[in-house]
């Protein structure tokens, strides 16, 4: 599929295909009118032969051909004229029927409709004047991410190969219009049409369920738009390694990510909870999990996912027994041959003594069956379920697993964390190095203040474009302390509902959880967590001179010449 060049508008395409019926109509009208002017009419009072003029003939044919039929105007017709009118009526019916038939055939033509849709898509993408993300693949992951990005007021452009899913983008209630194209994203031309090289393109997300396609998108993004960050989903190690080899910055393997989280959960449950809370999808509430216990674990299904989990458990020195039909390639772990869906295999793996079970096969029904059987054998098991198909989520909701691993959700979380707040990544890395008590206290303090709903996490840079008011103040040599800045711009005795987690300084210093008396410096980048309202109020303080003056000093700056003059006079009078 190729879109038409710009000057080939659709209307000319239609006219071109309507040439034959239009010529036919012109000819039929011409022949009818001509015949009617030639046919002899009734003689007039003097007995002279009359005939219709072109004016009357055209008038008569016009209302007859369009089936309006006013009758014989202006005089009664002669039989010769009536004979010709019979011919005209049938001719015109044929002409109109043929023309209308062609018009409808053209309008319902698939290739023409696709040409129209492509043209509309191109125009929509070309006219985007704000930063947008290019999402390739509108599956479950794509839908989650588009919804979240839309909620964060980013624009999204979708390329999807399945026509039915394109239709879904129109049914979703997005705030902004989402241009969607049904095409193969492996084709670099298509990516260009979808805005890969557009100056406002803020990022490419390769989320198709085909690693080959994601790889192709990553290469296209790397070569055609090197400055645009590419986020790629990769479910096999080969694809991930291939993407990494040419410098794709963000490769997201849901299985690897989950096993990373799982290792963190085993290592430091509070850090894990904190991470889930900070990176959740906006507008959702985090479910509180019990902490994964230490002890014997049983893993069913040693596939792509199982392998990653086993590696994570190895790092945490957690004993694990593998149940699989085929022997695993490493023999360091106890292996039971069989099917986890039956009680004998589970019992042989020692489910009675185990503390946790991971159902990691590629089949949702098998995973559920394993989990239900295992729970019957051991009520206190910590169950981790792998959910492959989003459509089965009702079943997984009904079975109360401790953790459900949904690849699409993991990819969505990860993408949003990378796109929305790049500063979160160094904070999380720093957090992972802290001990359990530190994380526990931080988690309790933050969730106590903001609740378990996913908070707004954002970053602000103190520079002339993002925070002109504060920046100018700092440049004048004033000192600004964090606690003075985080106040409501309408009532300064109220603290803003947000907290600074992390400060990144120009001189490469980091401050984690800075104390309230920290002085802000020009060029600082702050990572904040809080409510959406606090975010907009803080932005006002940073950018508005009057708001920042009030917040920092408690005085209202006089606006306008007269008030400034009055204030200056009063100040002079007070001074004496």
């Amino acid at each position: 599929m190729r879109p038409l060049p710009r000057h080939h508008s659709i209307i000319f395409l239609i006219l071109r295909r309507l040439r034959t019926p239009l010529i036919l109509l012109v000819v039929i009208m011409a022949v009818s009118v001509l015949g009617l002017t030639l046919a002899p009419g009734l003689p007039d009072e003097q007995g002279r032969a009359t005939s219709l003029s072109f004016f009357h003939a055209l008038y008569f044919i016009s209302y007859t051909a369009t089936t309006i039929g006013f009758g014989e105007i202006p005089f009664d017709f002669s039989n010769q004229q009536r004979l010709w009118v019979i011919v005209c009526i049938y001719l015109s019916v044929i002409g109109w029927a043929y023309t209308l038939g062609t018009v409808f055939a053209i309008l319902s033509d698939r290739s023409l409709r696709q040409a129209i849709n492509t043209q509309r898509f191109l125009r929509a993408v070309r006219h985007l004047s704000e930063p947008f993300y290019l999402v390739c693949g509108y599956g479950e992951t794509g839908r989650l991410i588009c919804g979240a990005l839309d909620r964060l007021h980013y624009r999204v452009v979708v390329v999807e190969i399945d026509d039915d899913k394109i239709g879904e983008t129109e049914l979703q209630n997005y705030f902004a219009d989402v241009p969607a194209l049904c095409a193969d994203a492996r084709n670099p031309e298509i990516l260009k049409f979808a805005g890969l090289t557009h100056p406002q393109c803020a990022g490419v997300l390769a989320l198709t369920n085909d690693d080959g396609a994601n790889l192709a998108i990553a290469i296209a993004a790397h070569l055609l738009a090197p400055r645009v960050p590419a986020l790629c989903r990769a479910e096999s190690r080969e694809a991930a390694a291939n993407m990494a080899s040419f410098g794709t910055r963000h490769i997201i393997d849901p299985f690897e990510k989950f096993s990373e989280y799982f290792a963190l959960a085993l290592h430091s449950p509070a850090a894990w909870q904190l991470l889930i809370w900070l990176t959740g999808l906006p507008g959702t509430t985090v479910e509180r999990h019990r902490d994964p216990p230490r002890g014997d674990w049983v893993l069913c299904g040693h596939g792509r996912f199982g392998r990653h989990v086993v590696e994570a458990m190895e790092r945490e020195q957690m004993p694990v027994t593998i149940i699989d039909r085929e022997a695993p390639d490493d023999f360091e772990h106890r292996w039971i041959q069989g099917d986890g869906t039956g009680a004998p295999a589970l019992q042989a793996a020692g489910i009675g003594r185990a503390v946790g079970l991971i159902a990691a096969t590629g089949s949702d029904v098998d995973n559920l069956s394993i989990a239900i059987t295992a729970r019957q054998l051991n009520r206190n098991l910590f169950v981790i379920l792998r959910q492959n198909q989003f459509a089965n989520h009702a079943l997984f909701d009904a079975f109360d697993a401790d953790v459900t691993m949904v690849p699409s959700e993991i990819i969505a979380h990860e993408c949003l964390a990378i796109l929305n707040t790049p500063m979160l990544v160094p904070f999380l890395a720093e957090m992972k190095t802290r001990d359990e008590r530190w994380c526990q206290e931080l988690l309790q303090r933050l969730t106590g203040r903001f609740g378990w709903g996913v908070p707004t996490v954002w970053s602000e840079r103190v520079n002339v474009s993002r925070a002109p008011a504060i920046y100018r103040r700092l440049m004048r040599g004033a000192s600004v302390r964090l606690e003075d800045l985080l106040r409501a711009p309408h009532r300064r005795d109220e603290a803003l509902d947000c907290e600074v987690l992390f400060i990144d300084r120009d001189d490469d210093a980091h401050l984690i959880l800075p104390s309230p008396s920290t002085e802000i410096r020009a060029g600082d980048e702050l990572l904040l967590v809080g409510t959406l309202q606090a975010r907009s109020e803080f932005a006002l303080t940073l950018s508005n001179e009057y708001a920042s003056h009030y917040v920092l000093t408690g005085e209202e700056l006089p606006r306008g010449r007269v008030w400034k003059w009055l204030t200056r006079r009063r100040a002079e009078a007070e001074r004496g």
């Binding site: 006219l15 010529i23 012109v26 000819v27 009118v33 072109f54 004016f55 009357h56």
Partner: protein
Amino acid sequence: MNLEKVIFGFFIVLAATLNFGFFVGDIDNPAHHDIYELFAAIVVSLIATVLKFGDRTQIGAVQLSTSLAADLQLITAAMVWGYAVHVSPAGLTPEMTARIVSLSGGALFANVVSVVFLISETIMQRR
């Protein structure tokens, strides 16, 4: 030889010749200007216009615009004729005839431009 090219050229030239045939004669003498010739000129000009639809070249676009100009002029001339005969009380006076013929003269110019384009396109292709 291409049948499409033959038909295309035929209609363009025929539109110009019919238009010329109607135009020649004393400008205010109704006897020198036949209404059937005007009718034929209009019909052929309309067909030529439709034939030019959808030509994707630059020259095709200019061809279409000259044809549309000719149509507009000829249809206006026909409307003036209809007004003169059926609406105005004086009928087809020499003044009215002069108006009609001068309008068709404008159309003739557009048709000549069209023919010039046709010839120049043919020369450009050299085959």
